[in-house]
Subunit: 209 residues, 4 copies
């Protein structure tokens, strides 16, 4: 449950937002990012800013109950971040991005999960040492009630073989890790897996003609 100083979290989250925007995962003011701080509080992006052009005042501190400790209105999804930190005491960062592919997949797939099988990229997830398994990505229905999303996704998250990530249908992707780098790695790998499976399906369609 250790964390990092705010002075380290702020530039790291600003740079991360710039990267996500370049990749097309931070359109409009979407997405929100947080990190566990060394004083037990959390740094989180404020509501309503463009994540590709974050400034230091676009990141504020909240306590474990989501109460603001510095000026600003925290992200409307702060409760989902805090729920992950409660459930996984080793989580040091939670990232939420919006890619067209991930949201497209969540709308096309009606089930409550998507399963990645046999990808070397699975080894990008912490603790995975081989491509020879499968990794479940939970898909939960969207809601404006954060408690409803949390309650719906909670059971799936602690089952073995579940990615440290989940999709909210028609909304976007959450991912986390022990620190900002690991959380970014999980999100990048998940987005990549979705893109690779879309390319695979396009080639399959072509080869079947």
């Amino acid at each position: 449950m250790s964390g990092i100083p705010l002075a380290e979290a702020v530039p790291a989250l600003i740079e991360l937002g710039r990267r996500f925007d370049t990749r097309g995962w931070a359109p409009a003011t979407s997405g929100n990012y947080s990190a566990r701080l060394d004083d037990g509080s959390f740094a989180i992006t404020v509501s309503g800013t463009h994540k590709g052009r974050l400034k230091p005042n676009g990141i504020m501190r909240v306590d474990a109950a989501g109460q603001g400790l510095t000026p600003g209105r925290p992200s409307a999804e702060t409760a989902l971040h805090l729920a992950i930190y409660r459930l996984f005491p080793d989580a040091g960062a939670v990232l939420h991005g919006h890619s067209p592919q991930a949201v497209g997949l969540s709308r096309a797939a009606s089930a409550g999960e998507w399963v990645f099988r046999g990808h070397e990229m699975l080894k990008a997830f912490p603790g995975v040492a081989s491509h020879e398994g499968e990794m479940r990505l939970p898909i939960v229905e969207n809601s404006q009630d954060m408690a409803a999303i949390e309650a719906a996704v909670h059971p799936a998250l602690t089952e073995p073989g579940t990615a440290p990530a989940y999709l909210i249908r028609s909304h976007g992707l959450y991912a986390w890790g022990k620190d900002i780098d690991e959380a970014e790695r999980v999100l990048e790998a998940t987005e990549w897996l979705i893109a690779a499976e879309l390319a695979e399906q396009n080639f399959r369609g072509a080869l079947a003609r």
Copy 2:
């Protein structure tokens, strides 16, 4: 109906053009951008320049009738910008971009509108607080007569549930907002929604095989 100083509008529109070009929304010399100025006139891009490499002389001032107040030939679509400012007194910026996806959609869909349903991204539009609705994006036929486009699209724009944006078929996307940032947010969100629905359809096709 307040506006911003020209000295603020110029660098903001230059930087916006650079970003749109990076995203592939400003090919050749396409697109045009405007902002309401604090003296009641408007800043608008001149005709025939590449929007990814705008210089200060690529932006001129026009009055509410479209007459040039500074040297240069204003965009051929100046009348469409001014029509939006007349119709929506709170609009502070109007942006027009060309993405392959938006134009591809406008040619594939024969109806007079495209409806986005159930996306969290709908909340990027001003005044939308939930994903649980729908947002209509009017599609109007292209014309070289700006008055004809304006007359055709005008009725749809003020109906409830209509995005602050419309598509001209085989042409491109218009979007607006209270300021340049909000207009960019609306345009980014609309482009993202189109890209996400294209990805959704690709996955649906694959899953149906």
Copy 3:
């Protein structure tokens, strides 16, 4: 038949290569770019360099017969550039790029041309004032014999309604204009039209399901 000084052509072509590489149109060492110089000779990229990382010595001078006037081995396709300058005395620059979309289209379409219809983007081509027409993009078979390509494509290039551009099948796209800016505009517009029609077809396929 005026041209520009070499000192102007070199940085312009270096910057153009950087942009084309960013857009994915200059993979490996593919592509070649030329400009008409003010002394009647031509600047052209040398063979075998990466166009995204051109240095001044990656651009040499050749005469109208393709003979080198400065050290270096000119592009193997120099003859195709010179043929355009002969055929169109007003051409000031010829650009050749390789995009996956353009080459994919040239392999999927068996005819000797592709016709763009009804796009506002047609106005990016010099002399086109309305979207209400069509523009033919000739497609010629590939050959290692430059004279064979030139002979095959020559008749189509001067017909009315033909773009200042052509596709070599399984190879890439040639485009030209009165100067480097106009040639780039033609190439960008042509690539954009191909991308828009691919998006259109993807949406049509989805809507037909």
Copy 4:
């Protein structure tokens, strides 16, 4: 079997990683790159770093048996790099990247190779002077046992008409060349060919409707 100084290899591989990341070929910590050094040892990326943000300590030296000569844990796929250097004494660099397209193709195609035919881009491969042939890209099954991958792919690599590259199914692409530039050229060309054939198939599907 000449090589380059370490002081030359390190900045070249750092810059290469930055480029690959920009192109989307280096998600999470995937990919690994190596170069033959002038003292007979090899520079190779260490395990577990993001290749888009390599620092000098992200590259270490190993001997021909894969033993570390400087601090760090070499890439888990070091043995595959060394096998290429043994098999091809002229190879000066080996690059391994992960693109969604290449991996998608490897999963959609069940055969042990993919054959590129009639592309001008084939000339990007060393020794190819015409588009009028074909180039086989071996596809080998993935394994966590590097010796198994090497044994499976070895016979195909020395057959005439085989690219200096191979795909590991569900994993990624290996490519090599006499130096870093040539290896990058081979990898770029192979990725481009896959992207062009995907675009071709998408257009074919559309034209068949």
